[in-house]
Symmetry: C2
Subunit: 197 residues, 2 copies
């Protein structure tokens, strides 16, 4: 719903009512059913999504045909191939829906309008920095941690996703096989592991 998006922008970015009114005409809502594909690798991405409800996923497909999950995006998250969006380059990944999902679709016309609103551009930059930090942490984990450590990190970082994402997709996100994840979970259960939060 647009009102959710408005509330989000006001709280997170400090956008005023008046400013939001300027942006509203450029907004579009869309219902996505589970499994639907929003973006394909090598297409040019012309939209940025804000997830009102539901759950999207970004993933690559390698030469061997295997999927590798780059990111999950539940309610109040953003998702797009921003590099493709901004520079009109071919997208590096696919985007599809893990659940029935409701999104706000933001096109270039939205960002043209929003570019004049300082609060928004500041927020946008901040969001980018957050993404960079997240990526750096994930790289650290992938470089230095075992499958079990990476899974524990995932559980503690995204407890709300655990029950909503199929296990084989979590395995893909962690960079291991579904079989390995199953064994990691079995071992953790044996040791009676409980998330610390």
């Amino acid at each position: 719903m647009i009102t959710d998006f408005k509330k989000y922008l006001q709280q997170k970015a400090g956008i005023s009512d008046a400013d939001f009114d300027k942006l509203e005409p450029a907004l579009l809502t869309k219902q996505i059913s589970k499994g639907a594909v929003l973006l394909r690798q090598d297409e040019v991405c012309s939209e940025v999504y804000f997830i009102s409800s539901g759950l999207l996923r970004a993933y690559t497909v390698d030469n061997a045909g295997k999927e590798h999950v780059i990111q999950f995006a539940p309610e109040n998250w953003w998702l797009s191939d921003r590099n493709s969006f901004l520079f009109n380059e071919p997208a590096l990944f696919f985007i599809d829906a893990i659940e029935d999902t409701e999104i706000i679709v933001l096109t270039h016309s939205f960002f043209d309008l929003a570019g004049n609103i300082t609060k928004f551009t500041e927020f946008n930059t901040k969001a980018l920095h957050n993404q960079v930090r997240q990526h750096q942490q994930r790289i650290s984990l992938l470089i230095g941690a075992s499958a079990e450590e990476r899974y524990i990190d995932f559980v503690e970082r995204y407890p709300n996703l655990l029950l909503r994402v199929p296990q084989w997709m979590i395995a893909s996100y962690l960079g291991i096989t579904p079989e390995s994840l199953s064994r990691v979970r079995k071992e953790l259960a044996r040791r009676n592991f409980k998330p610390t939060k």
Copy 2:
């Protein structure tokens, strides 16, 4: 040298002479000798570096005391813990010098000035997007590719770093042990591998 930095900003960001003159008073050059540490984990990072000549490295140290290289930064690259810089949070990594290095030091006062120059903020955003894309590609590789594939990717992506970075640091960047990298190289030599570019 400051003139190198000026040339860089003019070419890459389209900054005018007049605009650069406004920024120049906030610039500081610094000589760093090999091995010197510029930033420590958990400190607050108050500077952004532009490398005029030489080579810097960002890395984390895990609980077991092992170093994991996040990024190499040769001439004409930027380096900072931007998240720490922007939000005054503790830095996630160390920065030190792999070679004797000459840098331009940019503090908050520089960014305050530069914030008024549209060309610069646009360039800055673009640079952030580039970093995000790079990180995504690296995550894809770490998730989906073998040690050999990751090394080949490194060789082709950063041929200029091959001779300047000690092998054990490259191993750390790739997320493998120095011994493994040595064996990967031996195997590639046996197969007479040559970089495609």
